[in-house]
Amino acid sequence: MQYWDFLLGGVALGLVAVGFVAAVRRPLGVSGAVGGLVGAPGGDAGPGLGAPLSRVEQAAFLAAIAVGAGLSALLAGTWGQLDGAAIASRGFGPASLGLGPVFAARFGDGALGWAVVGGGAVLVGVGTQWARGCTSGHGLMGVARLQKGSLVATAVFFGTAIIASVLVDVGLGGR
């Protein structure tokens, strides 16, 4: 599939973040919305800021992310044909996960692969709530404002993700 190049994609992502701040008068943050839905205390209001997202708004925001990505995949003609969605056509065989050759070579396309995806996602949930931010709130919004917590968090999560990814590749012969 043809993805946007770095310039178009980067400008678009930046404009989404800036547009959100301009219109909602709050920082953009996905893990904050997730945390609010699972029981985190509400965000702080402040002078000149918009009201913190209510739970309904947090749910609507997250649902809209899925809808936007779904529209994008529909327009690209790839909806439902990516990753494990192809299970229906391929059956629950050894190739059911479909996350690509590197993932399959390291973790297989079966039960271990599903466990790695699920276990990794749990770490993402715990980690982003503990750090109080993820790729959007720390990596984009906080780094752009040179916030100390966000700079450290982003350096650490990018650093460990790079180390983990390099380790995944060890012994695979440079696929």
């Binding site: 993805y3 946007w4 770095f6 400008v11 992502l13 930046g14 989404v16 547009g19 959100f20 701040v21 301009a22 008068r25 953009l28 209001a45 002078p47 000149g48 209510s54 309904v56 708004e57 749910a59 925001f61 809209a64 992310i65 899925a66 809808v67 990505a69 779904g70 994008s72 790839t78 909806w79 439902g80 990516l82 990753d83 494990g84 969605a85 996350l99 690509g100 993932f103 990794g120 996602a121 749990v122 770490l123 993402v124 949930g125 715990v126 980690g127 109080r132 993820c134 959007s136 404002r145 916030q147 917590g149 650490v156 999560f157 990018f158 650093g159 460990t160 993700a161 180390i163 990814s165």
Partner: protein
């Protein structure tokens, strides 16, 4: 479609509970600002078109074997820096100071991101793209988030001397405890 469902349900509930002030009070208002939904839609489109939802693309970014996504993120930060300088509200956004959870949280997040190919936003976008693995990712992110919040609540419980008082505090609405 699920967004429109939420919108319609919220509008009906806000009309029924119109007594709460919507301008100053925040969490009690259930009105959905259109910009919140539009922002989510646009974020979903961009994450999908960038390939940020693609395990292989993310892996090539994190092994630095393809710098397209690294470059895109850098450009996005620069655009955000400029945009927030131009917006008056940019200077009002709350600080993100160092705290005790930054390093351990980011460590776990980085490992989990590399393994699952899903940051919280990407996991939800993957679900929208019809990726079956995203069902596991979204449930995992939600479960991990709920686990942390539950532990945080337990750890913030008051000490034994005030337990009795706090046990009476969180009475659910509608349950008379007079």
């Amino acid at each position: 479609m699920s967004a429109s469902l939420l919108l319609s349900s919220s509008s009906s509930s806000s009309s029924s509970s119109s007594s709460s002030s919507s301008s100053s009070s925040s969490s009690s208002s259930s009105r959905v600002r259109p910009a919140v939904v539009l922002g989510g839609l646009a974020l979903g489109v961009v994450l999908s078109r960038l390939g940020f939802t693609d395990w292989g693309e993310l892996h090539r970014m994190l092994t630095l074997s393809d710098l397209r996504l690294v470059g895109a993120f850098g450009v996005a930060v620069v655009v955000t820096v400029v945009g927030l300088r131009l917006l008056p509200v940019g200077a009002l956004l709350p600080d993100r100071p160092l705290h005790k959870g930054i390093i351990p949280g980011a460590l776990l997040f980085g490992v989990g991101w590399a393994l699952s190919g899903a940051c919280p936003g990407a996991a939800i976008a993957q679900l929208g793209e019809g990726r079956l693995t995203a069902v596991v990712s979204v449930v995992g992110v939600a479960a991990g988030s709920a686990l942390y919040q539950a532990i945080a609540r337990l750890r913030s419980l008051p000490s034994a001397s005030t337990l009795e008082a706090s046990a009476q505090a969180p009475a659910p609405p509608g349950v008379a405890c007079a």
